[in-house]
């Protein structure tokens, strides 16, 4: 074997030496290939794992925390929810449609690998500014990829979020969260058990697509040659996945499954080693039995292929015939590729010849771990000192019109209308609100979900920024009608070999963990995406959290943004400051300032505000979180969605445009007293008229605001001869 093969495969000399030590001999080529992928950053979390222990999941309603394919929480009456979030950043940059599509496919497999039917998907996506044609191409491609796969696979996409910043121009972020539902007796895990049990590979045939996706695409930085990596992107087939979902759910229903594991990064290597290691078993695998789509594939190629839409299911020998019959019914391939053994060895043969014999756990669980050096970026204090210079007088109405035209604040219907968001007759609050709300059929239960990130603020202060997105997410599900119940996080960062990036990561983990602990929300799963760096430029540190809220009973008439009516009172609940402009939409869009230091969340007040929102959600028509764009934009959004103006008796422009955390709006019948005394709450105006009237701070016509807000994304994306690009 060539001396440098491990380097070509992305492995360091030290890591290679560790493999030799584990095996007590030099690895064969196929073995080395397996280790190179399983020990990649993407699969092994080698730079992050030590820090992730900080997250707590030891709460009574958590059935399974991090470590399985998805986290699982108890909803009572035998119902369980499975949730998970993952990134598909690099593939989506190289090939936006397929990158995003296979991101959806991958996360769905994580959900139904737990026994749950996937019921909803959310996408948190980030791009460079839409003034650039390449960013428009990436944005359009990613959205149509999500739609193309999600709609056809028959799982509704209930929203997510979209952000734009220059730092994402050459490294867009595509994070996808999925939710599944099941009854408790359907729960399965990956832990293989029972020597003599059979490993069956279900689903698509195995080809050369996606080889090295985890190590080549996901675990290295990018440069101008990245398009050469296109062959490492997988191609999705939602129809195959749909059949696979139905077949697996039928297998669970008929109690034919001992354990199951999806095939994602590192393909058969990962699925067999993780399943065996989780059960403390060994496994023999015969690669001649794998159904292939190409000829003359080598053992390493078969082991590492990331061909999509495949599952590895462990079944008892007596059930094999029934499993094969179910596969035949759904017209999917099924091959008996392995057998569980006592011991710990994963033994792989091809053409009757051993090609690999390694301890399963050494691949799946005992990879390297790094405590990489960390240090605060040297320029951070200078960035803090560069706080926005605030003018004395601001026309708030003009400013709001300008902000409503910003694609990150504008109407997202252009995105969400491409997604089937109504399947399963469960969507009570659809995309376009603070969170989405879905009901569980034949129960009184409801689930709210919000995904939240805030890249710029997390760049300015990773710890504070991370706490703020957790609190914002909690408030988003609360104003949608549900109490925060569990969280998954997707931590998107640059190159961890830079101490400044590692510092951002550690600060972020601490921020997310502290906020969750304070809210008593378990972190039940997550994903770390490092090496989001192109040509030496790292992305903003971008944690994205997916908050699951739970309510039982669900509010009979949950709050919506479009239920404000003429004559109703508008209330603001939560602490005001008028000073929190660092990282605000106003500073970014109007002042062109990206500096300053964001305020920290005051946790006990934040908790109280969330609790009030949950309580009010059962009794008031409109609740709305105040976030990007501040109070003024939040008011405008209610006006636009409800088709009614508002008059605001607000004295200073600063209180209308700053973004102090833990605040929300309530629209209530005139004269109602909200009875809130432990946190600030005051009536700030009244609904009515055809203007958004900020008094001495200016007034905007509702119709104009509506048009600006609706057209902001379409006028940039729908380019035709009669419709130029702004």
């Amino acid at each position: 074997m060539s001396e440098s093969l491990h380097l070509e495969l992305g492995m360091t000399d030290d890591e290679y030496a560790s493999v030799v030590a584990v095996l007590d001999r030099p690895p064969a080529d196929a073995e080395l290939a397996m280790y190179s992928v399983m020990w990649s950053e993407h699969c092994s979390y080698k730079s992050s794992r030590d820090w992730l222990d900080r997250f707590r999941s030891d709460y009574p309603w958590v059935v399974l925390g991090p470590g399985e394919n998805a986290g699982v929480v108890d909803l009572g009456d035998g119902w369980l929810a499975a949730l998970r979030i993952e990134s598909h950043n690099h593939p989506s940059y190289v090939e936006p449609y397929q990158g995003a599509a296979t991101g959806v496919g991958g996360i769905l497999r994580d959900i139904f690998a737990m026994g749950a039917r996937p019921v909803a998907v959310w996408d948190a996506i980030r791009f460079g500014p839409l003034t650039d044609s390449k960013n428009r191409y990436l944005f359009g491609g990613v959205v149509s990829g999500i739609a193309g796969y999600g709609n056809a696979v028959g799982v509704p996409t209930l929203g997510g979020e979209v952000e734009f910043a220059e730092r994402f121009s050459n490294n867009p972020l595509v994070n996808v969260m999925a939710l599944g539902l099941m009854k408790r007796d359907q729960l399965v895990t990956r832990a293989a058990a029972g020597a003599g049990n059979v490993a069956i590979l279900l689903g698509a045939s195995t080809g050369r697509d996606g080889i090295g996706g985890a190590s080549i695409l996901a675990s290295t930085s990018f440069d101008e040659d990245s398009s050469a990596k296109r062959p490492s992107v997988q191609v999705g087939d939602p129809f195959e996945e749909k059949k696979l979902i139905e077949a697996c759910l039928e297998l669970y229903e008929n109690d034919l499954v001992v354990a199951i594991q999806d095939l994602g990064a590192a393909g058969i290597s990962c699925a067999t080693s993780e399943s065996a290691a989780a059960g403390g078993m060994g496994m023999t695998v015969d690669l001649d039995r794998v159904h292939l789509r190409e000829t003359a594939m080598t053992a390493a190629e078969i082991l590492l292929s990331e061909s999509q839409e495949r599952m590895l299911v462990i079944v008892e020998p007596g059930d094999v015939a029934d499993v094969l019959a179910t596969a035949e019914k759904w017209e999917i391939n099924a091959s008996e590729i392995g057998t569980l053994t006592e011991g710990e060895l994963l033994e792989v043969t091809m053409n009757g010849v051993p090609v690999a014999s390694v301890p399963a756990a050494s691949l799946a669980e005992n990879g390297p771990r790094y405590r990489r050096p960390a240090k605060q970026p040297g320029d951070l204090e200078a960035i803090w000192a560069n706080a926005p210079m605030l003018p004395a007088v601001v026309d708030v109405a003009d400013t709001v019109l300008r902000m409503l035209d910003d694609p990150a604040l504008a109407d997202r219907s252009w995105v969400s209308e491409q997604y089937d968001h109504m399947l399963f007759l469960q969507t009570v609050v659809e995309p376009g609100h603070d969170g989405s709300l879905l009901r569980i059929r034949e129960t009184t239960k409801g689930l709210a979900v919000s995904t939240d990130g805030d890249a710029l603020r997390c760049f300015l202060d990773p710890h504070r920024g991370a706490e703020r997105i957790v609190y914002e997410s909690a408030l988003n599900v609360a104003v949608t009608g549900a109490a925060p119940y569990a969280l998954v996080d997707n931590l998107n960062f640059g190159n961890p070999e830079k101490p400044e990036i590692m510092w951002q990561f550690i600060e972020t983990v601490e921020g997310v963990a502290a906020a969750c602990e304070s809210l008593a929300v378990p972190v039940v799963g997550g994903n770390v995406s490092f090496y989001n760096e192109t040509d030496g430029v790292d992305i903003y540190p971008t944690p994205v959290v997916g908050m699951l809220g739970f309510c039982d009973p669900m509010p009979a008439i949950p709050p919506r943004l479009d239920r404000a009516q003429h004559g109703m009172d508008l209330w603001l609940i939560g602490p005001e400051s008028g000073k929190d402009f660092a990282g605000s939409a106003y500073s970014r869009i109007v002042l062109d300032n990206l500096g300053g230091r964001p305020a920290a969340v005051t946790r006990d007040i934040g908790n109280a505000v969330v609790a009030h929102a949950v309580r009010l959600a059962s009794i008031v028509p409109v609740l709305h979180d105040v976030s990007a764009g501040g109070l003024a934009v939040a008011i405008a959004e209610i006006c636009i969605r409800s088709g009614v103006g508002a008059s605001i008796a607000e004295p200073t422009w600063e209180l209308l445009l700053d973004e102090a955390p833990s605040r929300f709006l309530a629209v209530v019948p005139a004269g109602d007293d909200l009875g809130i005394h432990d946190v600030p709450a005051r009536r700030i105006g009244v609904m009515g008229g055809d203007k958004i009237d900020f008094g001495s701070n200016g007034s905007a016509a509702l119709e104009e605001a509506t048009t600006v807000w609706r057209e902001a994304i379409p006028r940039r994306m729908d380019i035709s001869p009669s419709r130029g690009v702004a």
Binding site: N151, A152, F239, S416, E417, L425
Partner: protein, 228 residues
């Protein structure tokens, strides 16, 4: 009365439509596309989804599924048959309804509530509705742009075969949604009907609209052979 809800690989609205039909007193049964026996079915639903993946023209493969011969026999015998979205596409491919679907004018998938006006009450899908009623029902499709050659279109219009037309807020026919103005049609006997919007998704005010109920109630009444 028993309603056969046909499940093709790739169908995804079968549980939704069955749930609403059950709430209206019907007895829906999921029938797999390989089955060849629809004995005892008082009505047949081809639900929405992506039958066989729809990688070819939508419905082009589904029309060859084994169950379709039996669907055609029932249709000819006068059994109420409705196709929703992908089901409508399959009915046109099978020749049970005229026309074909092409991609939406904007070349993007569309999922949102649209307004449709009832143009004929002479079908199993519209008999309980009022002529001229405007219903708010979700559309959810990529190939939903109904096309038909001029002569046959004239014939369809003449015989009152157009059941639904997309309209705007003012009630004017609206071709800006997906390129077509026709949202649903029926055969000459009125027992086979197809529409692109999803009435089962407009069955509960909590989900945004209950305007679709009258259509599924029409279908249930037709299956029960109630006098119109």
């Amino acid at each position: 009365m028993k309603t056969a809800v046909i499940v093709f690989p790739g169908s995804n609205c079968e549980h939704d439509v069955a749930q609403v039909l059950r709430s209206l007193g019907a007895e829906p049964e999921l029938v797999f596309h390989r089955d060849r026996d629809l004995t005892g079915a008082d009505g047949i639903v081809l639900p929405g989804g992506f039958a066989h993946g729809d990688y070819l023209r939508t419905g082009a493969i589904a029309r060859f599924s084994p169950v379709m011969a039996e669907v055609e026999r029932h249709a000819a015998a006068g059994t109420p048959v409705i196709g929703i979205c992908n089901g409508f596409q399959i009915l046109t491919e099978a020749g049970l309804l005229p026309g074909a679907m092409v991609a939406n004018r904007g070349l993007r998938f569309i999922c949102r509530h649209v307004l449709v006006r009832v143009e004929s009450t002479d079908s199993v899908l519209t008999r309980n509705a009022g002529l001229g009623d405007v219903l708010r029902i979700p559309l959810n499709s990529y190939q939903g742009n109904f096309v038909l050659d001029t002569d046959r279109l004239a014939a369809l219009e003449d015989r009152g075969g157009v059941l639904f037309r997309y309209v705007d807020e003012k009630g004017h026919p609206d071709h800006t949604i997906n390129g077509a103005t026709i949202a649903g049609i029926a055969n000459a006997a009125g027992n086979v009907a197809g529409l692109m919007p999803h009435p089962e998704r407009a069955s509960d005010g909590l989900l945004g609209s209950s305007d679709g109920l009258v259509l599924l109630e029409s279908f249930v009444a037709s299956m029960a052979k109630l006098p119109a």
